[in-house]
């Protein structure tokens, strides 16, 4: 997880006195009557690594393209450092974009690609050369300055695209799925490289991705989008631990939803009557506000413990008996589906400690009150 640290240990978005760098206000964009971006408002702070996460077609790219200036919103406003972006042409905006397919100029070599953006800025040739050289060093491509883009590997192209956008010293860098063209290994290595580069240059990054692991690993904050709307904004941990809706809970990671009415609530915890679980489920939250409402208790599979029914070896606030139905071996962990008497299948992830359960084995599962989170939407 990428944490934006300040001297006072406070996060800028938690400090009401800090003004956001980029303000997106009630932005709407429609294409032939189809609403691609629907009333989106976001505040993004200097130095953030902000991710737009969502499924295919939810409007991430469209939102990014409105920031860059390639699409114009039907309604709403966008400003950076108090500057109204909607009054500026793409070539006048102090933002730069790294394109999904990198969009490197095929007829120019790496150095010329990087220098392209500097030649509008009235810099002398020496200054341009110096800055191109420095940015090649930043992405470790000094030896490739003379190569044409088609003589580079995917990872190298990605770094040229990054260098070309950063050399302009933008106030905000927009990245549209910057890692999606790389294979898994390279992608993981590049994630850290990208974070390091961002910290070095101190530029605000806004990244579009549909890969939740990527968003979790790299971002200071994430905005989850669905059907053109932003449905939750928060730090990765906040979104994972406290998903605001069933959609987010199931979209980010994997989760068990135990449904039922809130029957008993107070400051020291609440109970939800879940027939599928076979009794009340205890949660640590105070659900007074939802008293009597039907809610779902979300429990992540890795927070559920598992033991053989005959050698029961843990205590937990919520316990149920069941039978192992499905087993997936993932190497570092095991994924089980345990069937409860009600028929409900509960996903349980167990660290691979060498204790394995077999199909149809009776087991006992349990989780603590603090592991469950109530979701009412």
């Amino acid at each position: 997880m990428n944490v934006l640290l300040r001297e006072d240990g406070l996060q800028p978005w938690a400090d009401k006195k800090v003004a956001p760098q980029l303000c997106i206000r009630n932005v709407v964009k429609t294409f032939d009557g189809f609403t691609a971006v629907n009333d989106v408002s976001l505040d993004i702070y200097r130095g953030e690594f902000f991710s737009l996460l969502g499924g295919s077609g939810c409007g991430k790219t469209t939102l990014l393209r409105m920031l860059a200036g390639f699409e114009f919103p039907d309604r709403g406003g966008i400003s950076v450092d108090g500057l109204d972006l909607l009054k500026l042409q793409p070539y006048e905006r102090p933002l730069n974009m790294m394109f999904q397919n990198y969009a490197l100029f095929p007829h120019m070599n790496v150095a010329k690609n990087i220098a392209f953006g500097l030649r509008n800025e009235g810099l002398g040739p020496d200054e341009i050369e110096k800055r191109v050289k420095k940015s090649l060093e930043l992405v470790q491509l000094e030896a490739f300055a003379e190569r044409k883009p088609n003589q580079l590997s995917g990872g190298q192209r990605q770094r040229v695209a990054l260098a070309r956008a950063l050399v302009k010293r933008p106030t905000v860098l927009l990245l549209d799925e910057p890692l999606s063209a790389l294979d898994k290994k390279l992608r993981e290595a590049t994630q850290f490289e990208l974070i390091n580069i961002q910290k070095q240059v101190g530029v605000t990054f806004i990244m579009v991705t549909h890969d939740q692991d990527e968003a979790m690993a790299m971002s200071t904050r994430i905005a989850v989008m669905d059907k053109g709307r932003v449905i939750q904004v928060g730090e990765p941990r906040e979104i994972y631990e406290y998903p605001r809706s069933r959609f987010i809970a199931t979209f980010i990671g994997s989760i068990n939803l135990l449904e039922g009415p809130v029957v008993d609530c107070g400051a020291d915890g609440s109970r939800v009557d879940c027939a599928q679980w076979g009794g009340p489920v205890r949660v640590a939250q105070d659900l007074t506000a939802l008293s009597g409402h039907h809610v779902a208790i979300g429990v992540r599979p890795e927070k559920i413990r598992l033991a053989r029914a005959d050698e029961f070896a843990f205590t937990a606030d919520n316990i149920a008996d069941g039978v192992v139905k499905e087993i997936a071996y993932l190497g570092d962990s095991m994924l089980y589906r345990v069937q409860l008497p009600s028929g409900l299948l509960v996903k349980v992830a167990a660290q691979n400690l060498g204790v394995w359960f077999s199909a149809d084995e009776p087991v006992r599962i349990g989780f603590d009150a603090s592991a469950g989170v109530a979701i009412d939407k």
Binding site: E92, A103, L104
Partner: protein, 304 residues
């Protein structure tokens, strides 16, 4: 035993491959190379009152020796007689002017079509090709009807009172250029379109994003990337335009002289096949350079 079917299979396949290559070559040899060699042969002969109307190159001398007589006088003629030089020069000039104007008109048109959304491109391209649905000759005659002294343009302008006597816009160099640009425009637009359409348009956005104004984006990204299309279109217009006969003859003035007209004169008025053949061979030689550029460019897939 098990290896045999694979072996014969491979052989069939290589025979198929041979055939697909051999057929176009056979076509080329029969319908281009052989006629060209015959024409080249005739160009080395002299005219005679015979059928065919030229002296054979090979004959028997009085002493029974086999003689091969090659005349190069025809080549000397076309390089010394100003009529032919003027004809070549004006054909080249017509072709060059046609290339320049079809490019100036065709590039914006091709760019416009290529930048439309997919559903508009096909109908717009159809419009570009629409003239081909009408006979070429009829279209040229239509231009006569439009340009002549009492034609559409002149009568409209007189009726509007803009002019009081007809403009001379037919049977001169202007009408030749107009007709050629009109006729060759699609040959410029189509290759330009196909290269512009293939271009990655996000490159233009990237250039824009990096601070380049539209003029610079065009100069440094669009133009270089569409250069193969410009070269292909220019050659596709230039090569046939040099030999163009009908348009200068029908729309040009009485003194319009082109290679096509020179050829026609030698064949049908003077019945001098050898000189006519020489004119034709010289034309082919003249076009070998541009043809080779085109060949090379297509061969490398449009990348210089």
């Amino acid at each position: 035993m098990s290896g045999e079917p694979i072996f014969s299979n491979a052989q069939t396949r290589s025979f198929g491959r041979f055939l697909t290559v051999a057929i176009p070559y056979a076509w080329f040899i029969t319908f281009f190379l052989a006629p060209f060699l015959i024409v080249a042969k005739i160009s080395l002969s002299t005219a005679a009152t015979a059928i065919p109307p030229y002296e054979p190159l090979v004959g028997w001398a009085d002493d029974g020796a086999l003689v091969l007589t090659l005349h190069i006088a025809n080549y000397k003629l076309i390089f010394s007689d100003s009529v032919y030089l003027i004809a070549y020069a004006s054909s080249l000039r017509n072709a060059a002017v046609t290339v320049i104007f079809t490019l100036l008109l065709g590039y914006p048109l091709a760019y416009f079509i290529a930048s439309r959304s997919a559903k508009w491109r096909a109908p717009l391209l159809m419009l570009v090709m629409m003239p081909f649905w009408t006979s070429f000759l009829i279209r040229v005659y239509a231009w006569i009807g439009i340009l002549k002294p009492n034609g559409v343009i002149n009568s409209t302008l007189i009726w509007l009172g803009v002019i009081d006597k007809p403009l001379e816009i037919l049977n001169n160099q202007f009408s030749v250029y107009l007709g050629m640009v009109y006729a060759y425009l699609p040959f410029m637009v189509l290759p330009l379109y196909s290269h512009l359409e293939k271009m990655d348009w996000s490159l233009l956005e990237a250039a824009n994003d990096l601070g380049a104004r539209p003029a610079r984006v065009f100069r440094e990204v669009t133009l270089p990337l569409s250069m193969p299309g410009i070269v292909a279109g220019s050659l596709l217009v230039f090569i046939p335009a040099v030999g163009e006969y009908i348009i200068p003859t029908l729309l040009g003035g009485p003194d319009t002289l082109t290679i096509g007209a020179a050829l026609w004169n030698e064949f049908f008025s003077n019945h001098d096949w050898p000189v006519a053949s020489t004119v034709a061979v010289a034309l082919v030689v003249l076009l070998v350079g541009p043809l080779m550029i085109l060949q090379r460019q297509q061969g490398t897939g449009g990348h210089p």
